[in-house]
Amino acid sequence: MTTLALRWVHRNLFAKPFDAALSLVIIPMLAWAVYAFAHWALVEAHWQVVGGSFKVLMTGIYPADQLWRAWFSVATLCAMFGAGLGLSVRPGRAASTVVALGVALTGVMVAVAIDVHSGMLAAGSAALGVAAWCGVHHLAADQRIVLSGLLAGVVAIFVVLSPPGFEVWGGLLLSVVLTIAVSILTLPFGILLALGRQSRITSLRVISTAYIETMRSVPLILVVYWIWIIVPLLAPDTSVPGLLRGMAGFALFFAAYVAEYVRSGLQAVPKGQIEAARSLAMSSWTLNVDIVLPQALRVVVPSLVGQILDIFNGATLVFIIGLTDFLRAGQMILADPQNSGRTYEIYVFLFAVYLAIGGAITYASRRLEAHLARGSR
């Protein structure tokens, strides 16, 4: 055992003089950094600030007596995530153990941070997600049914969350819901743009190309701000909530990127597929919907999932149109003089959550890629 470890160390860290020198510098530095951080996190930091402002971080100024709506959304999101996972990843024993521990840990952490009641709700939601994962996998559920279920979930979240008004949505919940809604909205629009760009009809092709290239050459924040300003000008009599305007801006912007992904997918479909479909007298519509798009989208699913991460990270920009996303909620808490000394605690927490969610999305994208590579052809 020790000899093995020594051999590993020798081969990987001290194989050449330069490696050895580098290792001698970097390892102590890393060790010191880890020690310093651990000392701060475990001894000096005052984590109560996170627990005390948990509600604001998670939901912003969402009314406290309406929080069951937020919990409904959390549970639905967990179930949706689990169901999506069930389509591609087998719930094996190792994974189950990790997830079971994760569920328990989530519950305990939330219970400690806020109260036991919330801890139970959090653990329950996570467990629901696991149930959906196993359920979808064992029933070998039809993809189409699961996908419709996911759509229904999003609609349900909107319906349940909206009664107190869109203005009060905030925190991590806002970031997540915005990300999901925008990801879904960009799909049909992006697909149409990609098809438009390949169309034989010149006007369609020119408009699609111009749209895509324009959106890809300007910054996201500009588009979001611009849509936010222009909607009231176009429809002076109706007041469209800022959240919806923001979502429209995000969707219009990211649709151009989706279109480019889809276009690369379309180009990956072999010409023989189109010839076979044509020789069966299929119309252009059937050819695209039943033959070309399913194959093209399969190729680009990992990129599209990866783009969800771009949208999620981009969602930190909604503060410019007056929305309180997760990052903004953290800053609001720090604006309270009572929390003025807690900057590091809040930012470390924000960092950890962004890293966890980003990591999960990246992982899902990798798994999907591997799964799809195995599944086709």
Binding site: P270, G272, Q273, E275, A276, A277, R278, S279, L280, A281, M282, S283, S284, T286, D290, I291, P294, Q295, R298, S376, R377
Partner: protein, 264 residues
């Protein structure tokens, strides 16, 4: 010009494909030169010729996968829209022709995201408006006919080349075509799988299906063809019964070609 034509009318058959002085170029490259060919109902026409002589291009014109510049091409009584017609939307006419013409490709071109049975059922459902249950029941019958009933729910990637090509034949048959086009259907197959595909085609010929077949399987051609057409550099040099072409070819070039392919 000096092509020897046996008009299908002489064998008192109804003409189903009529090709009159067809010319086709890819840019400056003249691929098909004044091609005349009639195919009668129930007739099996085998097209042979060296690689690059224009065999694929010719049969791809018959279902409109390639456009031609001049000449006349009618299929099932419908005239094939020319390049100019298509620019102003001859798509509907084209679809009407294609409904009656099945095509089997060298590379199978099965839809990789669908099971065998869905590959066969999709066109009847989407193009002919059949009910999904009926279309799938019929698809299963067709798969049974090509000996693949037990493989109906497999994806193409789970099937051997020979099996995939038989699914492709079933897929074409599902549209109830009046004529079937085969473009080197066995050229991409391992030798041990050629037989199973040829068996299915033989069976089709026996049932009276009209077929245009591009192939290098000369034994098969001799056995099933009513007529053999030899193409050389985009021109039909010689047509005749298998006996005439294989045993008494009149052209020196035909003789050279045959001696080359028959030697092995």
């Amino acid at each position: 010009m000096n092509a020897i034509q046996i008009p299908a009318a002489a064998t008192s058959r109804e003409i189903i494909v009529s090709i009159i002085s067809l010319n086709k170029s890819f840019g400056a490259f003249h691929v098909l030169k004044d091609v005349d060919l009639d195919v009668g109902r129930g007739e099996v026409v085998v097209i042979i010729g060296a690689s690059g002589s224009g065999k694929s291009t010719l049969i791809r014109c018959v279902n409109g996968l390639e456009m031609y510049q001049s000449g006349r091409l009618t299929v099932d009584g419908f005239s094939m829209p020319t390049e100019a017609d298509r620019a102003i939307g001859g798509e509907r006419e084209l679809a009407r022709i294609r409904k009656g013409v099945g095509m089997v490709f060298q590379q199978f071109n099965l839809f990789p995201h669908m099971s065998a049975i869905d590959n066969v059922a999709i066109a009847p459902i989407r193009v002919r408006g059949r009910k999904p249950d009926e279309a799938r029941a019929n698809a299963l019958r067709l798969l049974d006919r090509v000996g693949l009933r037990d493989h109906a729910h497999k994806l193409p990637s789970q099937l051997s080349g020979g099996q995939q090509q038989r699914v492709a034949i079933a897929r074409s048959l599902a549209m109830e075509p009046h004529i079937m086009l085969f473009d080197e259907p066995t050229s991409a197959l391992d030798p041990e799988m050629v037989g199973e595909v040829l068996d299915v085609m033989r069976e089709l010929a026996r049932e009276g299906m009209t077929m245009m077949i591009v192939t290098h399987e000369m034994g098969f051609a001799r056995e099933v063809a009513d007529r053999v057409v030899y193409i050389d550099h985009g021109r039909i040099l010689e047509t005749g019964t298998p006996a005439e072409i294989f045993d008494r070819p009149t052209h020196e070039r035909t003789r050279t070609f045959l001696s080359r392919v028959l030697r092995h």
